[in-house]
């Protein structure tokens, strides 16, 4: 894989993670348990969609084929998306959302921190902006993890189950493939093995504070970054792309 191809693919993956998670969080708009939490969640969704736009615009420039951010978001088939399986998981209840955000954002913050030091200037610039947003998300969601985990017996058992259910998607965060290798080599990209080491440390500390039990080592799901998604993804894409598919070129 050559240098430019690695950069394009890596940027597209970052865009896909951000867009899909932004779409998931958007589904929660009007559904939050409290007014203030409603605003927080909508802010988070918008942060992700803003990041996706930056990554997609750049991917379009790199590709040089005239594809816009909208083309990447709304006119690509599901099997062309390269997001992690974790970010496409359905929202479920509030504890499920909290755990999904916590697992992913603990990883994403480390990834973005490393990307601020990569040698692809545009990626580093986007990462500098995005990492501030994600640090705030992480602060917010980490507090919720403790409130739920160390809260009532009911909240504890439900959030522990959320953690057990979603743990199998965490292996994919650190599964190195040829794009990661090439991006690390050619662009001073993140070393996933190092991120995994630090992520594990953070997990141990945070889960202990939340009085949650780290799930045992187990079989890990994967394939999102090769375009093999879980069944939930089809529904997400269908809703997200409906308008552009039904009315091509429709504008506000």
């Amino acid at each position: 894989m050559d240098k430019d191809d690695a950069l394009f693919r890596y940027v597209l993956r970052l865009g896909d993670n951000a867009l899909v998670l932004g779409q998931r969080l958007s589904e929660l708009v009007t559904q939050a348990p409290e007014l203030e939490e409603e605003l927080a969640n909508a802010n988070f969704a918008l942060d992700y969609i803003g990041q996706a736009r930056l990554f997609y615009s750049y991917a379009g420039e790199l590709e040089g084929g005239g594809r816009s951010e909208d083309d990447f978001a709304f006119l690509r088939d599901g099997n062309k998306f390269r997001n992690l399986l974790l970010v496409e998981q359905p929202n479920g209840h509030f504890g499920d959302v909290t755990v999904r955000q916590f697992l992913f954002e603990s990883f994403y913050a480390l990834q973005l921190e490393a990307l601020t030091r990569c040698s692809a200037p545009r990626v580093a610039e986007i990462a500098v902006r995005a990492v501030k947003e994600i640090h705030y998300h992480l602060r917010h969601v980490s507090q919720w993890l403790v409130r739920l985990g160390d809260g009532t017996a009911e909240s504890h058992s439900r959030v522990q189950r959320s953690l057990d259910d979603q743990w199998r998607f965490t292996g994919e965060l650190f599964a190195v493939d040829e794009v990661d290798e090439a991006f690390e080599r050619e662009w001073n990209g993140p070393r996933l093995a190092e991120l995994e080491f630090r992520w594990n440390d953070k997990m141990d500390v945070a889960l202990q504070e939340a009085t949650l039990v780290r799930p045992a080592a187990q079989w890990m799901d994967g394939g999102g970054r090769r375009g093999r998604h879980t069944e939930h993804f089809g529904y997400l894409i269908a809703e997200m792309q409906f308008l552009q598919r039904a009315y091509p070129g429709a504008r506000w």
Partner: protein, 95 residues
């Protein structure tokens, strides 16, 4: 329903360095850190702040409206306490 609400917090925002915090509104939150998050999300979305204070509304001691005559009227006729006899130097914006 009202009894199920989280406690109320009053929010004070400092809009830029050098000015003092001003009351911006209130939020509900289950604890202090959550109140800070909520205040940030509700009141600083458009770049309004550089610092936030939150305080439980129940911790605020307020003057009694019924006593306002005793509290405030005596100052009405003491015009010499107002700093209106000075020239304000040019360039001082926030006196």
């Amino acid at each position: 329903m009202a009894d199920d609400n989280w406690p109320l917090y009053e929010v004070f925002i400092r809009s830029r360095s050098g000015l003092s915090h001003r009351h911006a509104g209130s939020v509900h939150a289950a604890d202090d850190q959550m109140a800070l998050d909520h205040a940030r999300d509700v009141y600083t979305r458009r770049n309004e702040g550089v610092s936030i204070w939150v305080v439980r509304s129940s911790e605020i001691v307020a003057s009694d409206p019924a006593e306002s005559a005793a509290f405030f009227d005596p100052a009405d006729d003491k015009i010499y306490r107002h700093p209106t006899f000075y020239e304000i130097p040019d360039g001082v914006e926030n006196l």
